[in-house]
Symmetry: C2
Amino acid sequence: MKKKTDIIAVARAARVSPSTVSRSFNHPDLVKASTRKKIDAAVRQLGYIRNRAAQTIHGIRSGTIGLIVPTVDQAIFAELIQSFSEAVENLGFTILLASHGFDLDREYALTRKMLEHRVDGVALIGIEHAQDTLELLAQQDMPTLLLWSFSPDAAFPCVGADNYQAGYLIGAHVAALGHKRVAAIFPPLGGNDRASLRFAGVTDALEAVGCTIPEAWRLVAPYSVATAKSAVEALIAEGDLPTAIVCGNDVLAWGALHALMRGGIAVPGQMTVTGIGDFNGSKEFEPSLTTVRIPARTIGAKAAEAIVRLTTSEEEVDTGALIPTEIMVRGTSGPPGKA
Amino acid sequence: MKKKTDIIAVARAARVSPSTVSRSFNHPDLVKASTRKKIDAAVRQLGYIRNRAAQTIHGIRSGTIGLIVPTVDQAIFAELIQSFSEAVENLGFTILLASHGFDLDREYALTRKMLEHRVDGVALIGIEHAQDTLELLAQQDMPTLLLWSFSPDAAFPCVGADNYQAGYLIGAHVAALGHKRVAAIFPPLGGNDRASLRFAGVTDALEAVGCTIPEAWRLVAPYSVATAKSAVEALIAEGDLPTAIVCGNDVLAWGALHALMRGGIAVPGQMTVTGIGDFNGSKEFEPSLTTVRIPARTIGAKAAEAIVRLTTSEEEVDTGALIPTEIMVRGTSGPPGKA
DNA sequence: GGGAGAAATGAAAACATTTGCAATATTATT
DNA sequence: AATAATATTGCAAATGTTTTCATTTCTCCC
């Protein structure tokens, strides 16, 4: 009963050879219209579904793109993945998704898995990766794209924003407002080039006006509202408050804002708060969050285009793209209040 | 130069037959330790990577699970996808991800694509799907799991929460507080069983105390902070305010809270606001959001387990699971203020 | 040292396709 | 109506594995 319905069954039902059936799928113009009709009928009647695995072993593209991310559930990656996958799907590919939770060893293992699946291309988040991983991809000459961050001298073409610049923009804004007592909340910087670069940008911009973030005010919190909120609550409890808090991304800023609201500290009157990213909802926050716009959707779409171009075209095309960031000055930043 | 490095090349390099190489991967105990060592050396030296496509056409599992979601970038799905993918990866599978943007025709097309890729199982979000899609999956007897919502009489096993109950819980809470003038913000209900059921639960709970949500207070907003905020701003502009706003999920509630804050309306003094979902950050909101906890991570993990069980075991196991919801009464709800 | 039995290996078929080439059918041309 | 050109189709080989079965190689024991 469980008649495996392969291309041969279809051929039999349509009274043609398997070759013709195959051709009717892949080069329809090579088969007579009437035969094609017979074949289509047989396909429908048998409920035949093509087997991409069998195609793939002929060197035909598998139609999949491997996407390896640190995690899916951070607002910012979610948006990126969404636009990337949308665009990739529209180009006829499907995404093979894996997350490594910021563990570079796991990233390597996942990369191997992607290669086993014979994906047509691989996209990784960020510039920094284990040497192993990069070598593996190069050695298998797998079309590879680095996503989210941009650097002119990365190991592979990249599509993304300049995180250093993003940090610098916000740092300069805070500096220009005249703040001298500045705190920062960032996630752990190790193995996270985005965060490191942003932080470097912020500190450099502040240094430029002679302002340094004291050790005690360098708060560390993984990207979550909860941790940021409690970090800032602790800061408030300390008593010695800065006049501005620069946050590594918008989620941290939200947490900070909640903490300040709860502590009855006026924003921006007594405290300036800034984010980075301009996530959905940041503009609608009350007060509206000053941040740096990193256009995730644009990056995702451009990246999809780029990776597909890399997999399809023979010659080495330069597909990198630097997506510009933009500072969004809104309601949470202002001149330092009276100390 | 581009020597295709297949299992035969490895065999040659290790001076054994391809069969032995294959065995050394799949049944290592059947090959002598010394030979295995030779093979491993050859593998490393040639940089060989197994070709799952070739395995798959032998009826061997492809090691992939198709996950079809409406969209990735809604807070709630992101969390779900994250936990699902994590768990699935730990069980040795990889996720083939696709999103249809609430378009059931696209969902059908994507399902076909998954079948072409010979995934070992398919997980869909929600109970409601095009008849086509369900038939296709049944006809190909593809292990299928419905994710996120639970219903005892769904077409396939499902792992998820009872959205009606979630709605009912929150509706009952609002009713119990004594609210009679209640508004609701929900996304468009069509093709979204989660939202419809929640709304039904809310209205039923309110009906039970003789309270009806008037037509004018049934606000519609897709799941985004921005739309919810402007919907509530419009409501405020109208002038005739309810004493409670029940939101279809937490994101909508955030938007509503921002609008109220901006309008200077005290929560919970003048207005009660509730969400559904208990997303990351809702507890930390100021004031802390009253909502219904739907444990996305639990659902994702349980679902991963279930789908893997479905794909691996022969007999029909009943793998459905109803994940309980729980009301989280926090700071945004209280008795109705003076009108 | 000769077998018996077990352990390890290899040969070849099978899996579901695609494709180059040859064979056949259909048209067009005179 | 015959020939040439072209459009369709089928045959068979190829793709990279796994697996069954047969064969070879080891061990162990008397």
